[in-house]
């Protein structure tokens, strides 16, 4: 295709450039050519008459009015081949691990969504060995689910754990706004776990431009989708989507878009959804599971709020624990009736009692908790936290379920737990005979 070069730049902003040009396509890829011959990528994001607005992958800093813009006559694409496994790429698709560039097929980025009739109802549990996930909020193949946590919580450690402890065929890591040491940590963990040869990384760190950061999820998901279509079960890790949303806000702002909530553009929901919705269990092919990270201070902030409406639940991490309240797996009902007959019942009973205990915590502040039952609830809450909420304690699901029965029996009478009588006959431990729980001396 004919490549046209233009040199009459109108304006240069932090991430946006406008220029007069003709015959340009919406979303076309372009190159900024500096006077010294260096090049950087850009993409058309709006057209108005002969005025073309471009998003600059390298940012606006250093771009001058004597730069030239060459329109490349093609959309953004990403390479796709098995040789990419084990490699690390930047947000503009270039290798950054010192290895050679690959000549491979190129596939479209941010393509349309899969026809819903080609989706299967998710039905396979992913065993993670994390009790708060396996018992209470079971992860299911093709699920899209983020970790909600304050910055500084060990969410990347959990993300890497889950990805490497499970049976994924391919792991794709999309790092957006990573600190260098976080990037290093991912690389190290993947290598230690022996997963390097099934992993591809797309990495944007704080030294790279925000437009490259914006591209990372699209590149990661486009490649993941191709593997899934080939029949692979793919795990995509996206960390951190709050920073990604922040970049989106900056670019929208640079385009003078009217902000909706807290400066975020009105299409934040659709933007997040079109990425997360790539997760799918595809009929006659493989699957794509997305584990994300959404850093936040408050769940009502626009990013976690919009994310919660899109994803199939979230794991809420606080003070190093995986919390029960605030966490949710929307797909757990698809699988937890086929694990063990007591799974659903014990899960609900444990949660109900913990919720009762939480009310007593409030009351305790008024010094009004003195009765035996309330004190037992509070003791139960402590045991629950210690035994179950550590995200890095590894337990098989069956052991974790037994542990739940042990904890109930330690603190409650049968009629207090609200479980059916037949269920209790089978699972309620005999006095003092716990299967998993080790009672501490002072209890």
């Amino acid at each position: 295709m004919l490549q046209k070069t233009y040199e009459n730049i109108d304006s240069i902003g932090r991430a946006i450039l406008t220029i007069k040009a003709q015959g340009v396509h919406n979303k076309e890829l372009a190159e900024v050519i500096y006077p010294n011959g260096q090049k950087a990528f850009a993409q058309v994001i709006a057209l108005n008459g002969d005025q073309v607005t471009l998003q600059l992958f390298g940012g606006g800093f250093g771009v001058s009015t004597d730069c030239k813009i060459r329109f490349l006559g093609k959309p953004i694409q990403v390479g796709f081949s098995d040789d990419m496994l084990g490699r690390v790429y930047s947000g503009n698709g270039q290798p950054i691990d010192g290895g050679p560039e690959l000549l491979s097929d190129r596939v479209r980025v941010a393509g349309p969504s899969i026809n819903p009739v080609k989706r299967l109802i998710p039905k396979d549990m992913i065993r993670t060995g994390v009790p708060m996930i396996d018992v209470f909020n079971t992860l299911v193949r093709s699920q899209k689910i983020p970790i909600f946590a304050k910055a500084g919580e060990p969410y990347n450690r959990l993300l890497a754990n889950i990805a490497t402890q499970t049976d994924a065929d391919v792991i794709i890591i999309g790092g957006v706004g990573l600190k260098y040491d976080e990037y290093h940590y991912f690389r190290q963990r993947i290598e230690e776990a022996g997963s390097k040869n099934k992993t591809i990384m797309f990495i944007h760190t704080h030294r790279d431009s925000i437009v490259e950061g914006l591209m990372v999820p699209d590149l990661a998901l486009a490649v993941a989708e191709q593997f899934a279509l080939q029949g692979k079960n793919v795990f995509v890790l996206l960390s951190d989507m709050t920073q990604w949303s922040d970049y989106l806000r900056q670019v929208a702002n640079a385009q003078d878009q009217i902000p909706a909530n807290q400066g975020y553009p009105g299409d934040l929901y659709s933007q997040l959804a079109s990425r997360y919705e790539k997760a799918a269990d595809i009929e006659g092919a493989g699957s794509l599971t997305i584990l994300g990270v959404t850093t936040m201070d408050d769940v009502t902030h626009p990013v976690p709020d919009n994310t919660g409406y899109i994803t199939e639940g979230q794991f809420f991490m606080k003070d190093g624990y995986l919390e029960l309240f605030g966490s949710l797996s929307r797909l757990k009902q698809q699988v937890n009736d086929r694990t063990r007959p007591d799974h659903r019942s014990i899960m609900n009973a444990m949660a109900r009692l913990l919720s009762e205990a939480e009310e007593r915590v409030k009351a305790q502040k008024f010094g009004s908790v003195k009765d035996d039952y309330s004190l037992r609830l509070l003791a139960y809450r402590q045991t629950f936290q210690r035994e179950l909420m550590d995200p890095f304690r590894y337990l098989e699901l069956e052991d974790a379920l037994d542990l739940c029965w042990d904890i109930l029996a330690q603190h409650f009478k049968k009629e207090e737990v609200g479980l059916s009588s037949t269920m209790m006959e089978e699972y309620w431990p005999k006095k003092g005979e716990y299967k998993v729980l080790k009672v501490l001396a002072d209890e």
Binding site: L120, Y269, E415
Partner: protein, 581 residues
């Protein structure tokens, strides 16, 4: 009106500016933009400026469009095709059947259009008129059997005035595209009629005669049917933060509501949720009809990763189909999930048009649109005296779960029932997590008015006492108050809470609701003479356990009556024993 042509002048995501040449442009008409690879992208005129400049919202991805691309205007507003074959189908927001699209491509590639109704399937038509009969728009020409009922074939509602039937097809098999009648108007002009016709989605179908919603529509969900009911032809607003159980509630309503037809408008929500419905429902037998649940269901899916501009169209399309089946004399229920996504789509477009924004950047006219939408629900008395109804349950996804935002507020003003989902209740696993105190309904319940008041009073008392317990501890309140509190807790646990995943407990029919209410009332009315909080709590724990065991039993199950007796004995015995002490 001469159809216009034109060329693209600007592209900003889904908003495209067009300079029109020769012909008039109509606000709301459909246009097609042809891009370089020959694909034709469907769009709708949403604004006309300076006489010949139009703003189009494009229902597809606008990548690779360029200034100068040719545009053809159709002169026709966005319409839905109405006729037999809609029930049991799944379409996108523009009525393209998804299974048909799936035969062409794995992905929802742009520029694909498929006939909305099956053009090959033959329907057995039975005529109801004869040559010489006088007819008008809405008159019944005949009928065909569709799934569960006789589908009336109408003279298109768009026809005004009187017509004479000149020819009517004999009983036999016809497709929706074959002519089945010829009519002439007063001037003698002939017109061929088919079994299907189009109606513009944004234009409400006029009521023959409108009536008010007073007949309860049982949903199988106890808290709704007893305390916050919806009527046939009524409207309900169901806002809630994410994770409070909107989805599970919607699915339960779609399965168990006593409606003839259920239309699910999956607007901007997760694709997986629609998939669950259209892959599960064909396998599920509806106990009311003995047929597949899918036979009464129609799904419009404009899920969250499909083009945003078609969100609005999907909601209106669902509504128009609903109005059409109401004209069939059926009780139709629309589940619109979520109206917030529709409002957000309007906000996106409004922002691109640089309209002055209202609160939270929603357009100023959002409340008017929402009110007009819910006004399309209602009860209709048809020309033949039959009654049809269209009920709308709209979910709202308020930012931050805060109901004090424009979409929730506008919806509350327009609907008759309010089911506020609460995160505190869902955290406590008290499903359905519908706020027991703040929700309300102006429709009649399956229970008597005084019975509803009786339950609500107990719930309010329970809440007050619960907050006293937090402040003062259990020791700080009297045994009498504590018993009242335990009764409220019991009512919540065994009657208002419901396990929607349980085969028996998941749906409660009116007769059983009455039976359960009677039992609950007996327990609440029974005096309790036990003293001491520990003993009182234990008494109610036993009651709760026995009641829950009973809830999980089928009425025809061995042991059902026995469990009922056990429960009653528990109520009497405990009171009795205490009396003797």
């Amino acid at each position: 009106m001469q159809k216009a042509k034109g060329n693209v002048t600007s592209v900003n995501e889904s908003l495209v500016g067009v300079q029109a040449t020769d012909g008039a442009i109509m606000n709301g008409e459909v246009a097609y933009i042809t891009i370089e690879d020959g694909k034709r992208l469907k769009a709708e005129v949403i604004d006309v400026k300076e006489g010949d400049n139009a703003y189009l919202q494009v229902f597809e991805d606008t990548s690779w469009m360029k200034v100068g691309d040719p545009v053809e205007f159709t002169g026709l507003p966005l319409a839905v095709k109405l006729g037999p074959g809609i029930l049991g189908s799944v379409t996108d927001g523009l009525q393209n059947p998804l299974y048909e699209l799936g035969k062409i491509e794995w992905f929802l590639e742009r520029g694909l259009e498929v006939a909305p109704l099956d053009t090959v399937q033959k329907w057995h038509f039975t005529p109801k008129v004869k040559p010489g009969d006088e007819v008008t728009g809405g008159s019944v020409l005949g009928s065909v059997p569709e799934k569960l009922f006789e589908h009336k074939i109408f003279v298109p509602f768009t026809l005004q005035g009187n017509y004479t039937v000149e020819h009517i097809a004999v009983a036999g098999e016809y497709t929706v595209d074959e002519p089945i009648a010829t009519v002439t108007d007063s001037t003698g002009k002939k017109m061929e009629l088919k079994m299907a016709f189009e109606w513009p989605v944004k234009k409400p179908m006029p009521f023959n005669e409108r009536s008010v919603p007073v007949k309860p529509m049982p949903t199988g969900i106890r808290i709704l049917d007893a305390l916050f009911p919806i009527a046939q032809g009524g409207t309900a607003c169901c806002p809630g933060p994410f994770g409070a159980g909107k989805t599970v509630l919607q699915h339960s309503l779609a399965k168990h509501s006593e409606a003839d037809v259920v239309i699910i408008a999956a607007c901007g929500e997760r694709a997986g949720e629609a998939v669950e419905v259209f892959k599960d429902f064909p396998e599920l037998i509806d106990p009311r009809t003995g047929k597949s649940l899918m036979d009464r269901t129609y799904i419009v899916g404009n899920t969250s990763s499909m083009p945003v501009a078609a969100r609005e169209a999907s909601v209106y399309m669902a509504t128009t189909v609903g109005e059409y089946y109401r004209k069939q004399g059926l009780n139709v229920l629309i589940l619109a999930d979520s109206t917030s996504r529709w409002a957000q789509a309007l906000r996106e477009t409004s922002g691109r048009k640089e309209e002055i924004p209202g609160p939270e950047a929603f357009p100023m006219y959002i409340s008017t649109l929402i009110s007009a939408f819910y006004d399309r629900a209602g009860v209709e008395i048809l020309a033949d005296g039959q009654t049809g109804s269209l009920s709308i349950i709209g979910t709202v996804s308020p930012a931050g779960g805060n109901f004090d935002e424009p979409v929730t507020q506008a919806t509350l003003l327009s609907t008759g029932a309010f089911w506020g989902l609460s995160r505190a209740l869902s955290d406590a696993r008290k499903y359905p997590a519908i706020d027991r105190i703040d929700s309300n309904s102006k429709y009649p319940s399956l229970l008597e008015e005084n019975e509803v008041a009786y339950l609500l009073e107990l719930l309010r008392d329970g809440k007050t006492i619960a907050s006293n317990i937090i402040l003062m501890g259990e020791k700080g309140i009297t045994d009498e108050s504590y018993i009242r509190y335990q009764k409220a807790e019991l009512l919540d646990a065994v009657f208002l809470q419901q396990n929607s995943f349980h085969e028996v407990d998941g749906v409660t029919h009116p007769q059983r609701l009455r039976q359960m209410f009677t039992m609950v009332k007996q327990i609440i009315d029974a005096p309790v003479y036990i003293q001491g909080k520990e003993k009182i709590r234990s008494h109610f724990n036993f009651l709760r356990q026995a009641f829950l065991d009973w809830n999980y039993m089928r009425p025809d199950e061995e042991g059902f009556e026995k469990q009922k007796t056990t429960l009653l004995n528990l109520v009497k015995q405990r009171g009795h024993v205490a009396e003797n002490v």
